[in-house]
Amino acid sequence: MIDIEKIRKDFPILNEKVYGKSLVYLDNGATTQKPQQVIDAICECYAHYNSNIHRGVHFLSNKATDIHEKSRETIREFINADSSEELIFTAGTTESINLLAYSWGDFCVEEGDEILVSEMEHHSNLVPWQLLCERKGAKFKYIPFDDNGVLSSDFDSLINEKTKLVCVNHVSNALGTINPIKDIIEKAHAKGVKVLVDAAQSIQHIKVDVKDLDCDFLVFSGHKIYGPTGTGILYGKKDLLNAMSPWQSGGEMIETVSLDKTTFNVLPFKFEAGTPNYVGNIALGRAIEYVNEIGIDNIEKYEADLLKYAHEKLSSIPSLKIYGNAENKASLISFLIEGTHPYDIGTLLDRMGIAVRTGTHCAETVMQHFDIPGTIRASFAIYNTKKDIDDLYEGLLKITKMLGL
């Protein structure tokens, strides 16, 4: 069970006033707020044991290294990976995907090959593949979705012997759809095709188990799961990561260098060039511990309830249209108010202290599908309450009145 009052106390920003009003933060899809525990983990490191990790012989360096690697282990356990060698620390989802597109892509994709991407991807899981296809003369194909925001179920008809990778998000950041990842992976694997799961919008909301999913790669950002900015994870199956060439070079990812020749370190260091964001990575581990303390299953249940409530409330506004009506949804509602621009609604909600995101949410292909300029998106996290949704609802009623709708 969730003790929401206790949880809310963990997040100092929830006491903020915006234009003199209490903050109602419903922009969690963009980034989540941080519990004091995570902020403290950062301060603790800088105030007591900050030191560059790896290769150091002194006490602080060893301590920071140990805690850093313990954090990797915490995250490994959280996603149920076999080995912490399979977890690469990155700067975020976007970097994780770019690493793959360059390292895996440049060496595994050839002219005439195909990459299959869903039509509802965040730009970060679309453009790197588009550019890879350009570099390689490969074909960029996409899995369409229907007007409810559900991916075409016979997507495997798009797979052929040229297909090298399927890239799909677990939860859509623009529609909230929970995609049937496990099914997609099974069908792709049946045809010998690898699958990358973008878990940027699922990891903080629902259980993600890489072993159960059997995904080949999985990526997410730290800042969207109560962790610090500048952190992220690339999970990959060990044999795939081992076969990949390094991408960025320099620092700990190197074994030996001479002016003639360089050899590289083992996993996971092979992909971690330069001084890592070790303080961020340590704090990300603390964020995952925080999620564990509440329990991801509890979070899933609580947020599902919240989402159901939000759907009911918002649907009762006649001029409001929801985009994304899949049966399986998580964490967010995208909508428009008839005859208005999302920017207007966002601006007016803002003046009431209600933070939502408006625009294309870096998912322009979704907007193109519906031929709309963007949506208003209210996205939830563990500290949101029904009262937040009531505030949003009341705010929207006021606004429709203001706009004479």
Partner: protein, 138 residues
Amino acid sequence: MTIQEKQQDIIDEFSVFDDWMDKYSYIIELGAEMPALDSKYQTEDNLIKGCQSKVWFHADYIDGKIVFEADSDAIITKGIAAILVRVFSNETPKDIIDADLDFIDVLGLKQHLSPTRSNGLLSMLKQVKIYALAFSNK
């Protein structure tokens, strides 16, 4: 009326609102009142980059003065554009270039000035000044 005077006029009009809702209602009203821009001027060239909503600014140079017309698909943006049109239209390039922009602050619209992509005001002001510069060289 000088730019300065027009700005003061608008500041006076806004000063009667002590509630943000009234202020925004007024901006929305200003937006609703401004005639739509002829669709032939709703071109890629006239589109202002860096706004979340679409904003078009069209400028004519008539007898040494610039005449602005504008439109937007968002009503608040259109209202703000209307304020700018009112302040800067029918002025010489030089006066526009020299104009002080503090009135934005005074109106309490500063949050629209953020140098981000979603807030159009800064981009609109830039565009107005760019037009003025362009015409001042003619």
